[in-house]
């Protein structure tokens, strides 16, 4: 196609060792391990820290609400904050984000309200937020399907000469799906401004990475499509943000797509209905807890004198305020109108659906009359 840009050098193999800018003790690294990326300024890192702390508080709160039965299900991202927040923070409000079910905290950072993010998990409606207003697609549940939507939208934007970037998140398991392959390939062939984040949290429900792929790293896959791939320490938000920012900038300037693998770990279960003790060792969980992304950055920020007690208290208050708002939002029963079921199936009205709507309306009216009658007759309404 004529939109194709010149071929960039994309044959660089991702490093086998994940790129890092901060080590686990919060020390800034130099040299090979950094892959030539620079540590973001301390103000940026402080803001990323703030976002991670708030996101984790949200995640913990929602997990608790799920255990109380307020939500039908919730896929937690506890431990994955550096991937979730670092990468979404690299795009602007004009760019488009295509999330999966795991990415509630990225949506939070994107500015969606708790009630909007959680409506599908509570069971109100699948995904009812205004996607165009937020430039944020629905959470996709069929694995890897949303990656193609991200590529298509990016291509449409290029045809319109709009300088936007699309970002999509995938899990490690999702990279085995045909749609992931098709999305990587379409993006590379069409040179769309798309950034793919693969959050390698090492399990797809219970299936470990070794049963998912024989590749050394998931970033290696990028090479075969002819796009750059980066294997990054997914618990180092400085690295995630720096690599993502570079990828976004390259995409925006016509340099095509990038695949970023964040190597991380899912601390919680897959969802509340999963029993992780059946497939993983508690000592592995403990090992990864010691590599916590928030603590790592905290050590760095404290050593730089950027994270004072005052700032810490202020962030803590903001997190508690959000948790309270989330509890409030989930404690109100949503007002749902069953007749709305028929409202959004077709743009063009259908006679058969109007008939079915009328049938449900009659059922509801009959039920209401029955309840009223039972009440009048002194029978307690159920």
């Amino acid at each position: 196609m004529s939109l194709n840009v010149e071929h960039h050098e994309t044959r660089v193999l991702p490093s086998e060792k994940p790129l890092r800018l901060l080590d686990n003790a919060g020390h800034a690294l130099h040299g090979r391990e950094t892959g030539g990326f620079e540590l973001p300024p301390v103000e940026t890192l402080l803001e990323l820290y703030r976002r991670m702390v708030i996101a984790r508080r949200f995640d913990v709160q929602v997990t608790a609400l799920t255990k109380q039965g307020r939500l039908a299900t919730y896929p937690s991202a506890y431990g994955q904050e550096a991937c979730e927040i670092g990468v979404i923070s690299a795009i602007t409000a004009d760019d488009w984000f295509f999330p999966t079910y795991r990415d509630s905290i990225a949506l939070l950072t994107r500015g969606l309200a708790p009630a909007e993010i959680l409506q599908s998990f509570r069971g109100d409606w699948h995904n009812g937020w205004d996607q165009h207003a937020h430039r944020t697609a629905s959470m996709a549940t069929p694995l890897a399907t949303q990656a193609l939507h991200a590529v298509g939208l990016a291509h449409a934007a290029r045809l319109r000469r709009d300088p936007i970037v699309t970002l999509t998140y995938l899990g490690d398991g999702a990279t085995s799906e045909g749609d992931a392959h098709e999305a990587f390939n379409f993006a590379a062939v069409w040179q769309t401004p798309t950034v793919f984040l693969v959050q390698n949290n090492q399990f797809a429900i219970s299936t470990p990475l070794a049963r998912q792929t024989h590749a050394t790293t998931l970033a290696d896959k990028a090479v075969g499509y002819g796009m750059p791939g980066y294997h990054v320490d997914g618990n180092d938000i400085a690295a995630m943000y720096a690599v993502a920012s570079a990828a976004v900038e390259r995409a925006r300037s016509g340099g095509g797509p990038t695949l970023i693998e964040g190597l991380t770990y899912r601390i919680e279960s897959h969802t509340n209905s999963d029993d992780p003790t059946r497939y993983r060792q508690q000592r592995d969980v403990e090992h990864w807890k010691r590599r916590d992304p928030i603590e790592r950055l905290e050590k760095y920020l404290v050593s730089e004198g950027a994270l004072t007690d005052v700032v810490r208290a202020e962030i803590g208050e903001a997190a508690e305020e959000l948790a309270a708002r989330t509890r409030d939002a989930m404690s109100e029963e949503p007002q749902l109108d069953p007749l709305e079921l028929f409202d959004h199936v077709y743009a063009t009205p259908r006679a058969a659906l109007a008939e079915q709507r009328a049938a449900l309306e009659a059922e509801l009216a009959a039920h209401a009359a029955h309840v009223a009658h039972a009440g009048a007759a002194g029978v307690p309404a159920r």
Binding site: D130, Q131, H149, F186
Partner: protein
């Protein structure tokens, strides 16, 4: 002549009445739709310089350039999945699945996203896109080139599923499908691609959600769509010699189903049979028979019949004639009713 003059001459020729095949009519519809609306883009496998394996996109890339018409990588899920993103961004993609059975890799995208997007987003996202699927058999195709997949799509809420049977409808319905704000699965019966009609473009026939009585009759209603409209008309012509007056209804739209037009015909004749190439079990004909019975039972003199392909995978070319419903098979089926000719 200058290029512009040549194009003007071509345009003038296009509007004058001229014999067109169904493939040609579809091609003209795409061209006119792209001319009328620059949001319309066309892509798929081999649709560019080759013009598609059935030449339905012939000449479009030369006319509109490769930012409006292009060859995509060979991946059906990718084609439909990227079209979802494009439609979200305001384009109106018209994508081609090369053959019916090769649309199955896109099944998930079509069923889980294309059909549901409007609903799952409470109407915030509509997907104005058209998925063109050359369908059905009788062209001597080898395995995987002759499937009838319409029941899968028609059973999916959120999709509009249409199938023209003649060049005029092909033109009109494709224009309408592209203009629709809902996603449309547009099925093109391959065996009718070369059927001809003299058309003055742009022709507009009945709205695409309406069935059409294509032959009047008083004794029996034969219901067909796509390739079997021809079968029904041939059966009706043969029956006439035996004194049986057959009315033929072309459904045109499988979803929505036009209860009004078909119901009126069935109440008039009191007998009905539905014909399709696809297997009978769980097929689209079952839906037709059931809904017509539910609504018209006391007008019916006999059970509604289904004349269909056998319940087998589509056979090899040398055996397909034994699978496909023929006019004879239709007449034999009608003869199975107990006729009270008094």
């Amino acid at each position: 002549m200058s290029t512009a003059a040549t194009e003007r001459a071509a345009d003038a020729a296009a509007s004058a009445p001229q014999p067109l095949t169904m493939a040609g009519a579809l091609n003209a519809a795409l061209r006119d739709a792209m001319e009328a609306d620059d949001r319309v883009v066309v892509y798929g496998e081999d649709v560019g310089p080759l013009g598609g394996v059935f030449r339905v996109t012939d000449g479009l890339q030369a006319r509109f350039g490769d930012e409006r018409v292009w060859d995509s990588p060979l991946a059906e899920s990718g084609i439909v999945g990227t079209a979802v993103g494009m439609a979200m961004y305001g384009l109106r993609p018209v994508v081609e699945m090369q053959f019916d059975a090769f649309s199955y890799p896109a099944f998930e995208q079509i069923v889980s996203h294309v059909a549901k997007m409007r609903n799952r987003t409470k109407g915030h996202v509509s997907l104005p896109m058209v998925i063109r699927i050359p369908c059905a058999g009788a062209i001597g195709g080898v395995e995987h080139h002759s499937d009838s997949s319409e029941a899968y799509w028609a059973a999916t809420p959120g999709l509009t599923v249409v199938m023209p049977s003649n060049p005029a409808d092909a033109y009109s319905m494709l224009r309408e499908a592209i203009e629709s704000d809902d996603p449309v699965v547009f099925m093109e019966p391959k065996s009718r691609y070369w059927s001809k009609a003299t058309l003055e473009l742009p022709v507009r026939t009945e709205p695409m959600d309406r069935a059409q009585v294509v032959r009047e009759g008083s004794d029996v209603t034969l219901i067909g769509y796509g390739p079997t409209v021809r079968t029904a008309l041939d059966a009706a012509a043969a029956a006439e010699a035996e004194g049986l007056s057959i009315e033929v209804v072309d459904l045109r739209s499988l979803s929505p189903f036009d209860d009004e037009t078909v119901g009126a015909s069935v109440r008039k004749t009191s007998r009905a049979a539905v014909i399709h190439e696809a297997a009978q079990f769980g097929g689209y004909g079952a839906e037709v028979a059931a809904r017509l019975t539910e609504r018209n039972f006391f007008h019916l003199a006999a059970p509604i019949l289904r004349i269909t392909g056998w319940d087998i995978p589509y056979p090899s070319p040398k055996l397909e004639e034994h699978h496909l419903p023929t006019p004879d098979r239709v007449l034999d089926a009608l003869a199975s009713w107990e006729w009270d000719l008094a």
